[in-house]
């Protein structure tokens, strides 16, 4: 498990509850990249991702006074983000999951270091494209769970906490999302040989 409720989180929450609104600014700075990344992958474009991520923090700001310290701030924010993205206005999504990035957006992942051959690069791009298209066709709930697992790298336990579902449901839903993705990717490859 790579995240836990830190003392810093607890201190920030306590300060905020006592009226120090700057503590909330610290929370935003701490989690903005993770929440934005989730929204970006859920919604597929930078504009909607920023709108949704801002909404997430606004909802968190309003709900934080009632936040129970027993819960993890991190998974609580993921819960708000997932629900916000699922409820987000329906738009044609996934212009780009792996390709072009928006203005001001910095990419963390650096794939140039592997220096793959042109053939391998082409194959990799085809897989990326198939995955991108297929992910966009998944239902929002399945998309959310597979992104939490594969992109955000959350454990089953953390996903169960974030989505407020049982471990068994997490396990079966991830398996279903993978099967569905596999089917969609196969279909995509057949249509785009």
């Amino acid at each position: 498990m790579f995240f836990v409720q830190t003392d810093d989180d607890l201190n920030l929450i306590e300060s905020f509850k006592q009226g120090d609104t700057s503590a909330f600014g610290e929370i935003v700075l701490r989690y903005q990249d993770k929440i934005y990344n989730l929204c970006r992958h859920m919604l597929g474009n930078t504009a909607d991702a920023e709108d949704a991520a801002q909404d997430v923090f606004l909802k968190a700001y309003q709900a934080l006074p009632k936040f129970q310290p027993e819960a993890s701030l991190y998974t609580w924010l993921y819960r708000i983000a997932t629900n916000t993205c699922i409820d987000y206005k329906k738009k044609p999504i996934f212009e780009s999951l792996f390709g072009d990035s928006g203005e001001g957006e910095r990419l963390v992942h650096d794939r140039a270091t592997d220096a793959p051959s042109p053939e391998k690069l082409y194959q990799s791009k085809q897989i990326d494209k198939a995955l991108q298209e297929s992910l966009g066709k998944l239902s929002p709930k399945l998309r959310a769970i597979i992104i939490l697992k594969e992109i955000e790298e959350l454990s089953y336990e953390e996903i169960a906490d974030a989505l407020e579902i049982s471990m068994g449901t997490v396990k079966s839903r991830i398996a279903r999302a993978r099967e569905e993705l596999q089917r969609l990717m196969k279909k995509f490859r057949e249509q785009n040989p």
Binding site: T21, F24, G25, V28, L29, Q32, D33, I35, Y36, N37, R40, H41, T46, A49, E50, A53, Q54, F57, L58, Y61, Q62, L97, F98, S101, G102, E103, G104, E105, R106, L107, V108, H109, R111, S124, I127, D128, L131, K149, E150, I151, Y156, K171, I174, A175, R178, E179, L181, Q182, M185, K186
Partner: protein, 150 residues
């Protein structure tokens, strides 16, 4: 028809199964072409996910969020006052109004008493001279009064 064991591949990929289950699945996959293909597909899908870009929040994101929360705070500020302060304010207002009403009633009572006296005296004939002062009638009445006193 897909192999029923293929449903376990997902948990195997995520290392979310016990050692016994893991070993059993591994030996099954070696003899099942369908599960072997499914495992290969899922592994390449997992690799594609691993290569997916991770995005950072755009520049100024936190500032924009803070501006929105500040606007929200400003909008709801009349209601953001703690409950006990709102009660104290209401109580103070009731006290001021009550004092005002009581003070007003006392002053009105005093004033009405004075007014009644003034009205009674103004109705008395003593206020009026029998004849206009400085007139001939007035001089006559004055002489009569002096005479009567004697």
């Amino acid at each position: 028809m897909s192999c029923p064991k293929s449903k376990l591949i997902s948990a195997y990929l995520d290392k979310e199964m016990g050692l016994g289950e893991k070993t059993a699945l591994e030996s099954h996959v070696q003899g099942c072409a369908q599960c072997e293909a499914a495992l290969k597909d899922m592994q390449s899908m997992q690799a594609a996910f691993a290569n997916a870009e991770r995005h950072q929040a755009p520049y100024g994101f936190a500032t924009r969020v803070t501006a929105r929360t500040a606007a929200l705070e400003k909008k709801r500020s009349p209601w953001s006052v703690p409950l006990f302060i709102r009660f104290a304010e209401a109580a103070a207002l009731v006290i001021v109004i009550t004092i005002g009403i009581l003070a007003g009633t006392v002053m009105t009572n005093e004033r009405s008493a004075v007014t009644t006296t003034n009205i009674a005296s103004s109705l008395s004939l003593d206020l009026f001279d029998a004849a206009p002062p400085g007139s001939l009638g007035g001089a006559y009445l004055a002489m009569t009064e002096v005479k009567n006193e004697k």
